[in-house]
């Protein structure tokens, strides 16, 4: 979702221009429809006027109909400025949570998961044996500029079926912190992978697939914070670090507590 939205931003401005163009064309054709082509001296303008008058019964309505469709597609991914604001806030949380030594953005991250009814990931449906409309936690924004092509999805169903630290944070609606998870590599023994899976409520098969990806490093500590809007759970803010323990979980909560109201207000508009 993040990488698609990043690409969509490039066309967002073009879509805005398209909307304006559609309105202009609709108004222009409506105005031309009222002209008397018989009084025109230029053959080119006369032919153009007659053509536009012949199509005036469907072109302005079509243009007007396209305007809200274009607006809907612009709104589908949310206003770019709002997501910029959220990204800025996540960077801020990351800066407060992780010390200067832990500077690598790929290994110390803050990810915002949103709870959505549907999930368009066949891989996730098969992995968790959960239907596409059962309720899912989907990553919608992340700190930094790396690891944005995230395909991770966790089930978060109405029946209480969840997976991962983000899923448990959603289910319990509590801040959850864990540290000193085993350090895993592609050649780690199955027992270690299963230990990690058990401690993070994950699937060992999925973990092995992740480890098989070149350069993939699994976090060794997590902190999940539930996010809500107007009293309703909205999603989860997940801090993860390749370090065995986050230097200060109290720094995380301090940072989030100070900005929880602003974050909720911004997310309301998304």
């Amino acid at each position: 979702m993040m990488s698609i939205r990043d690409k969509f931003r490039r066309v967002h401005f073009a879509l805005t221009l398209l909307q304006g163009f559609l309105v202009f064309v609709s108004a222009a054709i409506s105005a031309v429809a009222k002209l008397d082509s018989a009084t025109m001296t230029s053959p080119l303008w006369k032919q153009l006027t007659i053509y536009l008058q012949n199509t005036a019964w469907w072109t302005p309505p079509l243009c007007i109909l396209l305007v809200p469709i274009v607006q809907y597609s612009k709104n589908y991914f949310g206003q770019p400025k709002l997501w910029d604001c959220i990204h800025f806030m996540l960077n801020d949380f990351r800066g407060e949570a992780f010390s200067e030594e832990q500077a690598s953005q790929a290994f110390h991250r803050v990810t915002l998961f949103q709870h959505k009814t549907c999930c368009f990931s066949i891989q996730a449906w098969r992995l968790y044996k959960t239907g596409p409309l059962a309720g899912w936690l989907v990553p919608v924004e992340r700190s930094g500029h790396l690891t944005r092509k995230c395909k991770t999805r966790f089930p978060a169903t109405d029946a209480g079926k969840t997976a991962g630290v983000a899923g448990q944070t959603w289910l319990k609606n509590l801040c959850i912190y864990m540290e000193n998870l085993p350090e895993l590599t592609a050649s780690s023994p199955d027992t270690l992978v299963e230990e990690y899976a058990q401690k993070t409520w994950s699937d060992p098969t999925w973990l092995k697939k992740e480890l098989a990806k070149n350069g993939k490093v699994l976090p060794r500590s997590y902190c999940g914070i539930p996010i809500e809007i107007k009293g309703k759970p909205w999603g989860v803010l997940l801090f993860d670090s390749a370090g065995p323990c986050m230097l200060g979980k109290n720094r995380i909560t301090k940072g989030v507590y100070g900005k929880r109201a602003i974050l909720a207000k911004v997310l309301e508009k998304v």
Binding site: P226, E228, K254, V256, Y257, A261, A264
Partner: protein, 160 residues
């Protein structure tokens, strides 16, 4: 109304909990901890005493009659307590125009009992949130119940 700004970190202690066989540390959701708590008599009706919680996000609320003289506003979605309103006259907290001795303690006790009543009515599903509300009231009782005179000094009277 006397408002007290709350330090969220003070109410967000990490404690160990076993979740599905995994021992982790948990703390309250940041949205369950109010930003401020206030206590005082309602301006338009001074015989009504109210304790109010101001949360980071606002939502629609519903009234719960916790007792004949106590009304509680509870969040529709979160079931958090937003305010507790006590009718001091109906409570019998006054002897004529003067407050009876121990009024503050009695009002506080009634409010705590009202919170317990709301919790039980919801099968203790949100017990942690109501426990937090009680803790906040207990931690700030001097300021919240300041407007209720504990005793009347010679010759003075409290008019409602």
């Amino acid at each position: 109304m006397n408002w007290v700004k709350l330090d969220a970190e003070r109410f967000s202690d990490w404690k160990e909990q076993n979740i599905n066989g995994v021992v982790v540390e948990v703390a309250a959701s940041p949205y369950d901890i109010p930003e401020a708590v206030g206590g005082g008599c309602v301006e338009t009706t001074p015989s009504l005493f109210m304790v109010e919680f101001f949360y980071p996000t606002q939502e629609q609320t519903r009234k719960v009659q916790a007792a004949p003289h106590i009304e509680v506003l509870v969040g529709l979605n979160s079931h958090r307590i937003y305010s507790i309103q006590t009718d001091l006259k109906a409570l019998g907290a006054f002897s004529g125009a003067k407050p009876k001795p121990g009024t503050r303690f009695r009002v506080e006790k009634e409010i705590i009992q009202a919170i317990d009543g709301v919790s039980v009515a919801q099968n203790d599903r949100y017990a942690d949130r109501y426990k937090l509300a009680k803790l906040i009231i207990a931690s700030n009782r001097d300021r919240l119940f300041e407007n209720i005179p504990e005793k009347v000094h010679g010759g003075a009277s409290f008019s409602i």
